[in-house]
């Protein structure tokens, strides 16, 4: 089992409360959220497993190398550009959301630009690290964050105020036809890692694909935690009134005998780390996608490649800063929704192209 790959899968799952995913589902709780996640789990897992299967066939190459070898370039470069844009936008959305949330909960009087700048510097800098450094960092930060997150979940659920009846209320709304949009959004939990498959460390395969079952299992656990716990804490009605539902759910956790009384600070610390990881990983891969697509034909020296990578990251940073400056919360929310749709479509096209290319190359062998 390759734990770097598992880490990438995990990061894409854990980032969901920051990109409003629980809120999309909570708003649709009476109009088909539960069937939507079941369908999303099925489609998402199938797509991912198909993808992992084709990656396994190509013996430890990253998706970039596979495309380079087996996909014709007229298909390859638009794909690279699309993947790069969706990956980059994902990171930027997380960054903007996270800065506004941090400002609200840590220092409301602070200028948002300062926070944006801090996050941009940290994210941009780590996106320029070597892939090894990023993977090592991801490994131990996840090891630190996941237990803390589970601890917060446990504290919420074990509270006497936690109302299981409010959670059980949702059983009435299982047999409703869900909207397509919600399925697209939900599938992110299961397919979010696909664009990150550019790390050499994560692409190594041992014998089997036995880790594939982890994707639906972990995805459903993560989804259930983020979706159902707010109902037990805030009830079935108040739950939809909160903009950042998980910030408020974490703020409803009181740690009486801990050093920190408010659970929200632990949650914030955990999510600052996870967001920075997500930003750096998605920006690193966005830069990699772009450079492989646009510069594929020209052979540059390593130093020049590095310069171009730096330039790409600087441009991304500037655009993200402008985005953070001009976007209000409503626009951010809508934009995130459209990003989910775009990402789903691009991912499906990628998996389909790569899958069929690998299959064809195997047949011709």
């Amino acid at each position: 089992m390759n734990h770097y790959r598992l880490g990438l899968i995990g990061i894409a799952m854990l980032i969901t409360p920051i990109v409003y995913l629980p809120r999309f589902f909570i708003e649709a709780r009476f109009t088909g959220a539960i069937p939507a996640i079941i369908l999303a789990a099925m489609t998402g897992s199938l797509i991912s497993i198909w993808f992992l299967h084709s990656m396994k066939q190509s013996r430890g190459l990253t998706v970039l190398e596979v495309i380079k070898k087996q996909v014709p370039s007229y298909l390859g470069w638009p794909l690279h550009v699309c993947m790069s844009i969706t990956g980059y936008v994902g990171g930027a959305l997380v960054l903007i959301t996270m800065s506004s949330v941090t400002m609200r909960f840590i220092n409301p009087t602070m200028d948002i630009h300062v926070l944006l700048l801090c996050f941009l510097l940290a994210g941009g800098w780590s996106a320029l690290r070597s892939s090894r450094a990023l993977m090592f960092g991801m490994e131990y930060w996840i090891l630190l964050c996941v237990p803390l997150l589970f601890f917060l979940w446990f504290k919420s659920v074990s509270n006497t105020m936690f109302d299981w009846d409010a959670v059980l209320m949702l059983t009435d709304y299982v047999k409703i036809t869900p909207s397509w949009q919600l399925i697209f959004v939900g599938s992110f939990i299961f397919t979010g890692f696909i664009s990150f498959y550019v790390f050499k460390e994560a692409a190594k395969w041992q014998a089997s694909i036995h880790e594939a079952w982890m994707i639906p299992l972990a995805g459903v656990i993560v989804f259930c935690g983020f979706f159902f716990i707010p109902f037990g804490v805030h009830g079935t009605q108040a739950v939809e009134h909160y903009n950042y539902i998980w910030m408020n759910t974490a703020d409803s956790i009181q740690l009486k005998h801990g050093m920190i009384e408010r659970g929200v600070f632990i949650y914030l610390a955990v999510y600052m780390i996870i967001s920075l990881l997500f930003i750096s990983i998605s920006w690193y891969s966005a830069a990699a996608w772009l450079m492989n697509g646009v510069l594929a034909s020209a052979a540059y020296s390593p130093k020049k490649t590095r310069r171009i990578q730096q330039l790409v990251v600087v441009v991304m940073t500037v655009v993200a800063f402008a985005g953070g400056h001009y976007m209000n919360e409503q626009q951010l929310f809508l934009f995130t929704k459209y990003w989910f749709f775009a990402r789903f479509i691009v991912d499906v096209i990628l998996v389909w192209i790569v899958g069929s290319a690998v299959k064809r190359s195997k047949l011709s062998l």
């Binding site: 009087t109 109302d163 009846d165 209320m169 009435d172 009830g235 009134h241 703020d251 409803s252 956790i253």
Partner: protein, 361 residues
């Protein structure tokens, strides 16, 4: 190049140092917020500000009380900002007290600010102040080491663990204001002499106080709400008269709607306890009768409480939510429940196990 980058970064850091951050000595920490009905305007907001002292010792807590009237809570606070010399920091407020007069109408409107405003903790306690929130905040207990601390200790169950004090958090109150089939409540704080008296609970429908529970009912209500043991029951069944100290309590309930006959709520409770004060019980007598007497007492007081609440159509224990959670009719359940609750019968079944007669027999 690298050096240049580092120098640039430092320059940037120097640039961002003076923004938004205010030192602790330039801040006023608000520990408690009181909201009353204003005489001229809609609200009279009182803030209890803590004044930090070098020496923390009992009875030496220093605080400043400021209040202002406004047509909205934010307006009043905006005015209050002009009265003090430091930055108001609401993020440390641990308790909000609502005056009794204000709780008489449209309570949900008054709470919008608390939920919407950034920086207010969701785990803040809420309580009802009698006669007004300002009177409650004006009192500082002799034993207090920090201003407002005695109220925080009482509700947090970190200090006293009284069976009369029900605790309500802001997030939970907001949930109950909106939830169908689960109504809000608040503990009631009164001033008696130099101390607080917290032994009542106020039950709300979605808009105003409908029922004030007396201390005995409050104790039972807390036991049912929080499934907390450690309370005493006075058992008075001829010829027995004793006090049972409840050590362990478990209960569950279900709502039964038979096709023929009235709907009823079946509540089964298991209690373990020891006798605490009595001159009528004997160690060598049969304990069955002693237990039976306690069962009858408990059943009666629970039933009384439940009937009192249902007579006012109040449902703080979430019976309606349980009804809806265990049925599968979607939106219709809520209408059904509204017609069922007024005629709901209560069948209470308590099983008491006496574990001992205390230190003497």
């Amino acid at each position: 190049m690298k050096k240049l980058m580092i120098i640039m970064l430092f320059l940037l850091l120097i640039n961002i140092s003076g923004c938004g951050f205010k030192d602790i000595d330039k801040r006023f920490l608000v520990v408690a917020i009181g909201v009353d009905k204003g005489e001229v305007k809609k609200y009279n907001v009182t803030l209890k500000l803590i004044i930090p002292t070098a020496l923390v010792s009992p009875g030496q807590s220093k605080y400043q009380l400021i209040h202002y009237e406004g047509d909205s809570i934010s307006e009043a606070i905006e005015y209050l900002r002009s009265e003090i010399d430091k930055q108001l920091d609401l993020g440390h407020a641990k308790i909000t007290i609502i005056g009794e007069a204000l709780a008489q109408d449209q309570i949900s409107n008054h709470f919008d600010w608390f939920i919407r405003r950034r920086g207010i903790q969701r785990i803040e306690y809420v309580a009802l102040g009698q006669p007004s929130a300002k009177d409650i905040l004006s009192l500082s207990q002799q034993s207090e080491r920090l201003a407002g601390n005695s109220l925080i200790l009482s509700f947090g169950h970190e200090g006293t663990e009284s069976s009369f004090i029900v605790t309500e958090y802001l997030y939970d109150f907001y949930e109950r204001l909106l939830e169908k089939g689960k109504d809000p409540f608040m503990p009631v704080i009164r001033v008696r002499g130099d101390t607080y008296e917290i032994n009542k609970a106020a039950l709300f429908d979605k808009e105003q106080v409908k029922l004030m529970l007396d201390p005995n009912d409050t104790r039972m209500f807390k036991a049912l709400l929080m499934k907390k043991s450690n309370f005493e029951v006075r058992v008075k069944e001829d010829p027995l008269e004793y006090t049972l100290s409840v050590q362990h309590l478990r209960y569950h309930f279900k709502i039964v709607t038979p096709s023929n006959g009235d709907p009823y709520l079946q509540l089964d409770m298991k209690v373990k306890g020891i006798a605490e004060e009595s001159d009528t019980i004997q160690f060598h007598e049969s304990w069955n009768e002693i237990e039976r007497a306690a069962e009858q007492s408990l059943e009666r007081s629970i039933k009384q409480l439940l009937e009192k609440m249902s007579a006012q159509q109040l449902d703080p224990l979430g019976f309606g939510l349980r009804y809806m959670a265990t049925r599968h009719d979607g939106e219709k359940e809520w209408e059904d429940w509204q017609s069922i609750y007024p005629k709901l019968q209560f069948r209470v079944n308590v099983k008491v196990t006496l574990e001992g007669t205390g230190e003497i027999n």
